[in-house]
């Protein structure tokens, strides 16, 4: 019998790693992967709670999260490709034409 708190702890750790990854890495793709990691930690928690409360909603929600993530990755990578083609670099700091 594993108390749910452990799952919450685990997913928090994963989520934080994802955030740190997003904030520290300069490579757009790595940032992208870190976001996927954050999404996954959320999904984990969803399923854990679905399990504790005997409700399927959690899992269905995870299903939807995954579809959205897939759509997001498609568009994101397309953007990265487009950016790379115009700036020949996918370093996130170079993408600063919106500077105020």
């Amino acid at each position: 019998m594993v108390p749910v708190e452990y799952y919450v702890g685990l997913s928090a750790i994963l989520f934080t790693l994802g955030v740190v990854g997003v904030l520290t890495r300069r490579n757009a793709i790595i940032i992208f992967m870190s976001i996927e990691l954050m999404l996954n930690s959320a999904n984990l928690l969803f399923v854990a709670f679905a399990r504790t409360f005997e409700a399927l909603n959690g899992q269905i929600f995870v299903f939807f999260v995954m579809t959205v993530a897939a759509a997001e990755v498609a568009v994101g990578l397309a953007l990265i490709v487009a950016v790379f083609r115009s700036k020949s670099s996918i370093n996130i700091d170079d993408v600063n034409s919106l500077r105020g």
């Binding site: 997003v22 996130i92 700091d93 034409s97 500077r99 105020g100």
Partner: protein
């Protein structure tokens, strides 16, 4: 007091209102037609009006005797009715009021006749013939007012007459309003008139307070009801004291007693008939009449009687001392009147109402005689000085510089120093004047002796000090009358006017003779044994009357004093008569300081001037200028209200409006700019930075949620 029947009084009594109507009719006739119909018409109409009033009074006298002296009230008209205050115009006919009516209208008529002659000349000398009619209008008005005073049935009607005669004395004293007492153009007469009126007003204030207290204690002002309350003892003691003392203040104002007598000597500024009628015979006696009428009030508490008697006695002595030092013939008589009034007030103060009234009547006779006599003397000297009128036939105003004799200053016909040796020049006036002098001095047989003797006898029973003061006053009276006679009629004429003095016309001499007769026979009205006059008054006074037993040694004493005084005056003035106008008065050498005080009326006038009149003027000026104008008007209104308002608006306009409100608005704008600048450094352009700040927001919110 016998309660009077107020059932409809039949017959003669219903004539009472006519004693007021006749003079008023005479007044109106003169007012409307006087100017056009000449002096003769005016004089006769006025005298007839006064004579008619005398006739009605005589009729009432006989009707009252037939009615066995029971008082009768004749209601005439309703006056003021509010709540329980009910005052009507109602006439009261009782022995006291009839006596006064007879005296007033009798002597009034005589003086009207005398004035018809006297004013003819006086008007010439004052170069204002048109004012002849005005004189007789005022004189009739005075008779009417005096009649209201003595025939009123309640205190308020009495008060109407009281102030009415005050007004007439104002008008008559200030008759020659554009001249000063010595005849030269100036404001002297008008000041004397104003002084008289205001002094009377002060007395009237006291009388008014007495009326208020009486009303709120007895709930009526009608004599019978008020006296009923007093006799039943329903009136609290403080009220009796208040009423009596306030009334006494009124009496001192009107009858010229100690505090408020200052106006009477100045009243001599009026023409002589006025002085005779108003300031000797009738008006000034109103105070004595009031005390006699309010006998129950004054005899309720012995101490009150003491106060009144002392004031009377002290006035008698004080005025007598001043009379000795005067040189103006009318001033001597004026102070003599004040002194004799002192006698009367002392008498009625002691409760000897009959004696007081008797002296009032006899005094009216001989004092009117003396004043008219002095008028005749003055006129004789004036006509001697610059003759005018029928014998000179053309108004030769040759010396129009108004009678300056050789010494440059104006020739004052009233100054005894300019007279002397007139007994041969104006014999009629001299002999009638002698009758009056002897009566006043109190020589037996003459009227003065009997009335003064009765007062002295009562004084002896009442209190010794008062008797001594009164006897001293009597002695001085005899002395100054003697002095006057020696100065005026004996010795040598000391001025051109005295030299060429001419006897007055017959119209003036007749009243003098009649009055002389009355002065001699008057005494027998109340002969010590029979007391007919006393019993006549008893009908009104009731139990307040007690006949004074004849006291032989008092009579002898007073006669001896009188003769001694006359002899003394002969020693000082008669033996070596005064030669020139300028030389000092023998008494001045004898008792220098005192004589100077006497002559200067003990400086009382100046004391009043400094103590009352000047401070009031200064106070009024201070109030008007500093308090009202500079403080209330300028400072309070201008500085405080107006400038305060302007200050407020300026304050609101500049510092508050510009400073604060604009300040806030600009401040906000600057703050916005500052923060915007500060925040702009966040726009680094690096996406990661934005992500970082997003994360920072997440952490902060999560923190607050958890740790709140």
């Amino acid at each position: 007091m016998l309660l009077s029947e107020t059932t409809n009084p039949g017959g003669v009594f219903s004539l009472v209102p006519w004693i007021v109507f006749f003079p008023v009719i005479g007044l109106l006739i003169n007012l409307l037609f006087g100017k056009r119909l000449g002096e003769k018409f005016i004089g006769t109409v006025a005298s007839l009006a006064s004579g008619a009033a005398f006739a009605v009074s005589a009729a009432l006298f006989f009707a009252l005797q037939a009615n066995h002296g029971h008082p009768v009230v004749v209601p005439f008209l309703e006056w003021i009715h509010i709540g329980d205050l009910a005052i009507d115009w109602a006439f009261r006919v009782d022995t006291l009021s009839v006596t006064m009516m007879l005296v007033v209208s009798g002597i009034g008529t005589l003086i009207h006749i005398y004035a018809a002659g006297y004013m003819h000349y006086d008007v010439q000398y004052k170069e204002d013939p048109a004012s002849y009619v005005r004189f007789f209008i005022y004189l009739n008005l005075f008779i009417a007012m005096m009649m209201i005073l003595i025939s009123g049935d309640n205190y308020l009607m009495l008060f109407v007459g009281w102030e009415g005669v005050g007004l007439c004395s104002f008008l008559l004293i200030g008759f020659w309003f554009n001249r000063s007492p010595d005849g030269t153009p100036g404001t002297g007469n008008s000041y004397a008139a104003k002084k008289a009126f205001i002094a009377n007003r002060v007395g009237d204030f006291g009388f008014l307070m007495a009326i208020f207290t009486t009303f709120w204690v007895t709930h009526s002002l009608q004599f019978d009801e008020v006296f009923h309350h007093f006799e039943e003892g329903l009136v609290p003691e403080w009220a009796i004291w208040a009423i009596a003392l306030f009334m006494l203040l009124g009496v001192t104002g009107k009858s010229a007693q100690i505090p408020l007598y200052v106006w009477l000597p100045d009243a001599m500024a009026g023409p002589t008939p006025v002085s005779a009628l108003i300031h000797a015979a009738t008006m000034v006696t109103a105070g004595v009449y009031l005390i006699t009428r309010s006998a129950p009030v004054f005899s309720a508490i012995p101490e009150v009687q003491g106060v009144v008697a002392t004031i009377g006695a002290v006035t008698a002595l004080f005025a007598a001392t001043i009379a000795v030092g005067q040189f103006d013939i009318k001033k001597v008589l004026a102070y003599s009147t004040v002194s004799q009034l002192g006698f009367m007030v002392a008498a009625v103060g002691m409760g000897a109402y009959a004696a007081g009234m008797f002296h009032l009547v006899t005094h009216a006779f001989f004092k009117a005689l003396l004043f008219l006599g002095s008028g005749s003397v003055i006129l004789a000297v004036e006509r001697g000085h610059h003759p005018i009128g029928e014998d000179a036939h053309g108004h030769d105003h040759h010396d129009d510089h108004h009678g300056h004799d050789d010494h440059g200053h104006a020739f004052d016909p009233q100054d005894m120093r300019n007279m002397g040796g007139l007994r041969h020049k104006i014999p009629w006036t001299f002999w009638t004047y002698m009758m009056g002098t002897l009566a006043l001095a109190g020589i037996p047989i003459w009227a003065g002796f009997f009335s003064k003797d009765e007062i002295l006898t009562d004084a002896l029973h009442f209190s010794l000090p008062i008797y001594i003061i009164l006897t001293l006053a009597a002695f001085l009276t005899a002395f100054y009358m003697g002095r006057q006679v020696w100065l005026v009629f004996f010795g040598e004429p000391r001025s051109h006017g005295a030299e060429a003095a001419k006897e007055s016309p017959r119209a003036m001499l007749i009243p003098l003779v009649v009055l002389a007769a009355l002065s001699v026979l008057g005494g027998f009205m109340n002969f010590p044994t029979t007391h007919q006059f006393g019993h006549w008054l008893e009908y009104t006074l009731g139990h307040f009357y007690h006949a004074t037993q004849f006291n032989a040694n008092v009579a002898l004493g007073s006669t001896a004093f009188a003769l001694a005084a006359i002899y003394l005056s002969w020693l000082v003035y008669g033996q070596k008569p005064r030669q020139t106008v300028k030389e000092a008065d023998p008494l001045e050498k004898a008792l220098p300081g005192i004589f100077e005080g006497m002559q200067a009326k003990w400086w009382l006038d100046d004391i009043y001037e400094e103590a009352i009149i000047k401070p009031y003027q200064r106070l009024a000026a201070f109030l008007a200028d500093v308090v009202d104008w500079r403080f209330w008007h300028d400072w309070f209104h201008e500085r405080v209200l107006r400038d305060g308002f302007f200050g407020l608006t300026r304050f609101l306009a500049n510092p508050v409006d510009l400073g604060v409100i604009d300040g806030i608005a600009n401040g906000l704008a600057r703050a916005a700019q500052g923060s915007a600048a500060a925040l702009s450094i966040l726009q680094t352009g690096f996406v990661r930075n934005y992500a970082l700040w997003v994360f920072v927001g997440v952490v902060l919110i999560l923190g607050t949620l958890i740790f709140r």
